[in-house]
Amino acid sequence: MKTLRICLALVCAVMMATGAQAQQGPLRITIEEGIIQPLPFAVPDFQAETGEAGQLAADLARVIAADLQGTGVFREIPSSAFIANYSDFNAPVSFPDWKAINAQALVTGAVAVSGNNVNVKFRVYDVVSGTNLGEGLQFSGTTDGWRRMAHKVADEVYSRITGEGGYFDSRVVFVSETGPKDDRKKRLAIMDYDGANVRYLTDSSAIVLAPRFSPTGDRVLYTSYESGFPRIYVLDVGSVQRRVLQSAEGTMSFAPRFSPSGNTVVFSLSQGGNTDIYTMDIASGQSVRLTNTPAIETAPSFSPDGSQIVFESDRSGSPQLYIMSAAGGEARRISFGEGRYGTPVWSPRGDLVAFTKQNAGRFHIGVMRTDGSEERLLTASFLDEGPTWAPNGRVIIFTRETQGEGGASSLYSVDITGRVLRQVNTPEGGSDPSWSPLQQ
């Protein structure tokens, strides 16, 4: 149980940093003293229960370990340090051997392959107390979906130890980029959250921008210049069929996002030089204008309950963040710090708004509470922009562009404490990520 408490302390430390109300005293101490230590864990290669499963037994363990390690909350103990020789899923665990190498959590598993079918079993142990952390579980699937099974195991481990929802069995849709700054080619791509299984959804014959997942991950909204003008399209991820959503003559539309129901799109429409926010019912094509000022209003994002919209407006003279009802009307400003604020995105937990901030020649990804309080900047660089939330609201992926003539874009992730910053693997340059919900 000791281990479990330590784990919980870590999680609560993460929650604390978001400004959530601290429920437990000791956790505050952990944060203030800055002694957050990643939890050491071990994932020995799974037991191969059938002859064909050997490679998979190792690969599954590697993906699970990478998922956990990538959170920054956990630290993998390499197999070279192992004393125990794990080979039998059902044999008693030799806890002293794992304690001796300071492992606090242990994940063991077994995999059987039969034709195209894979069956994966796993258990999670609290090494210090020598107990199971929850029941053993098994997942079945097909061989080509093995990575998803690994992510599902890792999500379960992460949830059991942290008490948070997982985010590993998810995907990211983004803009894949090649070429120099003055001749950039862009096409939509989709991949697993960790960069595996990249698939291209469009070609690069027209500029494509800012894809956004539907709430179920089956469709993507994006902006394309294929008509010669920026227009919003909706694309079915499975069939890659697309259709234009809004094409009124003399207008440009961009910055779309789905409502939580998936039935409505909120977006920006420019006409006569003025950009305002509209919603459109996807089935009927009926639009409603939500803002009506000479200012630029763009980058709208729904609250998770669908009742409000956070957006960016320069009505005060510089771009700032505002929240209004999903039906439009009065908006209240929530950003008051130095600099310019843009691309607000409501956290799936509803507690925070992530945003891009430009100040003193630098760009930042930051988060604030929905009343504008407790603003915290998580990153700083020449150009960071366009945050998107992990399904559990604990991690953000964004675009980072480097400076100068050779400037290029890539995807980065940062946790909401700002401590764990990493580049996300993509085969080419990457920008404008949108994180899917957990897959079903």
Binding site: L209, A210, G228, F254, G273, P319, G342, Q358, E385, E405
Partner: protein
């Protein structure tokens, strides 16, 4: 038409003299293209940059673009002068339509820059309309920060990227 063409040429020569006198190999060439006898001046290849009715002439001599200050979409004095020339040219060359492309530098988010580019393109369009160019010959599009022409990350490049470019279409078939 003849009179208009000639007066335009004079304006164009003046303009060219202050912006880029050597564009066509020196002032002599320009003097030649200002042939007061009208029609095609001697030595002018139709469609080439010294054919005053060519898109090349529009792009290079009239000037196809206007530049903007940081975060601004209001036209500068130099921008108005360029647009005056564009308006005259478009009124003289009625076969042409134009798409005005608004652009931003890389400082700023993608979405905001799209909206800012729309403002800039619209500012240029409204000015041309105010100078008599029929609105139905002009369309606007914003590229935000997607299409920089200069790629360094400092003001020297940014100043050239904050632009509205009048791109001609038509003229050949009609």
């Amino acid at each position: 038409m003849k009179i208009l063409t000639v007066s335009l040429l004079v304006a164009a020569v003046a303009l060219s003299a202050c912006t880029n006198p050597n564009r066509f190999g020196g002032d002599d060439a320009m003097a030649g293209s200002g042939n007061p006898t009208g029609g095609q001046p001697l030595g002018v290849v139709p469609g080439s940059a010294n054919d005053p009715n060519s898109t090349a002439f529009f792009n290079q001599t009239v000037g196809d673009r206007v530049l903007f200050e940081v975060d601004q979409s209001s036209l500068t004095m130099a921008g108005r002068t360029t647009l005056d020339g564009q308006a005259s040219w478009l009124l003289a060359n009625t076969d042409y339509q134009a798409v005005i492309e608004g652009h931003a530098d890389e400082q700023g988010t993608r979405e905001y820059n799209l909206a800012l580019g729309a403002r800039r393109a619209n500012a240029a369009q409204e000015y041309l309309v105010s100078r008599g160019v029929p609105a139905n010959r002009l369309r606007v599009v914003s590229y935000g920060k997607e299409r920089p022409i200069e790629i360094c990350s400092n003001e020297a490049c940014y100043a050239k990227n904050r632009r509205a470019v009048t791109v001609l279409a038509g003229g050949l078939t009609s």
